[in-house]
């Protein structure tokens, strides 16, 4: 009897798709989170149940909403810098052999450093307003974008470039018609990592020194032992990060739509 004959029979008894399993894990975690503090397994000062976090948080919604908007705008501005400048820098580095040899090792080493240590310096330079957050988060998120763009540009099929050159493509059309579309799937994976780092950068910077934003509210509530509000702030950050990631996944799917199969991807 071949394996193909037995496989469906096994599948019929146990049909839980990976997606369902994922949601099931999430549900179990949520239930544990709710039950653990209520049952007294964990002190409520340390862990507030999600229902309490929602109730207490929504009671102060205006505060959170204005902080959320503040944080959102900081993230948006940082994303523009990290993606825009990072993409341009990655393109320039990836296109020139000298840039690859000279700049790429440097960029990878800086990427490996814990950049958060320079945030205090940035507050000294730019104050504790949004400017220091945007500077810091842009810098924090720019490196994966540069690296992914440079890598994507390098991987462009040389034959396609020769073909386009034979058709008389100049620099601009070569970029828009060949290099950028070919590099896009790799670039988007860099945008994803860069986007996550920008979010982390903004929120951490707000926690360290600021006067507004979700990170600020989380820290402030924590010093006052208002645990449910702390968790509500954390939930908001999760929603923000999740939303951004979803947006980029959609872009990723669109960028690699022409590829044979989703699971044939090499990233």
């Amino acid at each position: 009897m071949s394996a193909t004959a037995t496989a469906p029979a096994r599948g019929a008894g146990w049909r839980l798709s990976p997606v369902a399993l994922r949601w099931l894990c999430l549900a179990v975690l949520l239930v544990l989170w709710e039950v653990a503090p209520r049952a007294g397994w964990v002190p409520r000062v340390i862990l507030a149940p999600p229902s309490a976090a929602l109730v207490e948080g929504l009671a102060e919604w205006e505060f959170f909403a204005s902080a959320l908007r503040f944080t959102f705008l900081e993230i948006l501005a940082s994303l523009c810098f990290a993606y825009g400048l990072g993409g341009l820098a990655g393109l320039a580095i990836g296109l020139s052999p000298l840039g690859r040899r000279a700049a790429l090792p440097l960029v990878s080493s800086i990427y490996a450093l814990p950049l958060v240590v320079i945030y205090p310096v940035m507050t000294a330079w730019f104050g504790i307003g949004p400017a220091s957050k945007i500077w810091f988060a842009s810098l924090y998120g720019i490196f994966p974008v540069i690296l992914a763009t440079a890598a994507g540009v390098q991987l462009v099929d040389r034959q396609l470039i020769t073909m386009a050159r034979a058709q008389g493509a100049g620099f601009r059309l070569m970029m828009t018609e060949v290099v950028i579309p070919a590099a896009l799937p790799a670039v988007v994976s860099g945008l994803r990592v860069g986007g996550a780092l920008v979010t982390v950068g903004v929120v951490v910077a707000e926690m360290l020194a600021s006067t507004d934003g979700i990170g600020f509210l989380i820290t402030q509530n924590r010093t006052m032992f208002r645990t449910p509000q702390v968790y509500f702030g954390i939930l908001l950050v999760l929603v923000l990060a999740g939303g951004l990631d979803m947006l980029i996944s959609r872009l990723e799917r669109r960028a690699s739509r022409w590829r044979p199969q989703q699971d044939n991807r090499h990233e």
């Binding site: 034959q159 050159r165 060949v178």
Partner: protein
């Protein structure tokens, strides 16, 4: 078919002597490697009359592909000049030269139709106009109904058909083909050869066809230029005086065999 390619021209124009479609004068090419300078081509002189189908054969590494890339304006020769229709080649000249590569080199994120229309897009031809033309060309190469497929959905032979259609897209008087069928299996290669001849009979473009398939060279060409091993020099120019239009039966004739044998003996002495 209302294809707006150039008017089909008679096979052998009578009258005033035309200027050659391609004129190669004193091409010598050297390049640097880690172990010093390599002389790839030495003093190549060649003239191709308009409407001729000329093959370029020679042992591996003789520089036949390099010579073609020089004609396409993609590689600058160390010495010498190439003129196409009287004007020197100093860089890519897509209005005068279509190029078909060994790999189909299709943009994988574009459909077959968009790939064929690509040269026109680069020149800013409006979408409707360029796609109408690309559609006609896809029909010409037998790919009706495949307009919206992406390259990964096409077989190797189909991809090469798309590449040939793209080569025709700007209606250039000269088509340069760099081992266009080398990556295909025998049957596909033969079918595509016949298709290419059919289209060529119709439009009589000047074709320079690099290949290492001797049967293919004799079957397709009016003339086969045999290059020597490195440094590449023109060893012989063999006129293929087989009647046209050609069909596969011609391969079984004694004359076909003799021509093929003649080319092979020239190349064999080189390697």
């Amino acid at each position: 078919m209302s294809l707006h390619l150039a008017e089909p021209r008679p096979a052998s124009p009578v009258g005033a002597p035309e200027q050659p479609a391609i004129e190669v004068r004193g091409i010598t090419h050297r390049y640097q490697t880690g172990r010093g300078e390599v002389l790839a081509l030495r003093d190549i002189n060649l003239s191709v009359a308009p409407g001729r189908f000329v093959g370029l054969v020679g042992p591996s590494g003789c520089g036949k592909s390099s010579l073609l890339m020089m004609m396409a304006g993609l590689v600058r020769p160390s010495e010498g000049q190439i003129a196409v229709r009287g004007a020197p080649i100093t860089g890519p000249a897509p209005e005068r030269l279509g190029v078909v590569f060994q790999e189909a080199s299709l943009l994988p994120w574009r459909t077959a139709l968009e790939n064929v229309a690509f040269p026109l897009k680069l020149r800013g031809v409006p979408r409707a106009e360029r796609e109408a033309r690309a559609e006609q060309l896809l029909h010409l190469v037998g790919l009706k109904g495949f307009e919206n497929r992406h390259p990964h959905e096409l077989s190797g032979g189909m991809k090469q058909r798309v590449a040939i259609a793209r080569g025709f897209c700007q209606d250039p008087p000269v088509l340069l083909m760099d081992e266009p069928f080398a990556a295909l299996d025998e049957q596909t290669r033969m079918t595509l050869g016949d298709e290419l001849l059919r289209i060529w009979e119709q439009y009589r473009k000047t074709v320079v066809f690099v290949t290492h398939g001797l049967t293919e060279a004799v079957y397709l060409c009016d003339e086969v230029v045999v290059l020597s091993g490195r440094p590449g020099e023109v060893l012989a120019r063999i006129e293929i005086d087989l009647p046209r239009p050609r069909t596969w039966e011609v391969m079984a004739t004694e004359h076909f065999g003799r021509l093929r044998e003649q080319i092979w003996s020239l190349i064999r002495r080189q390697s």
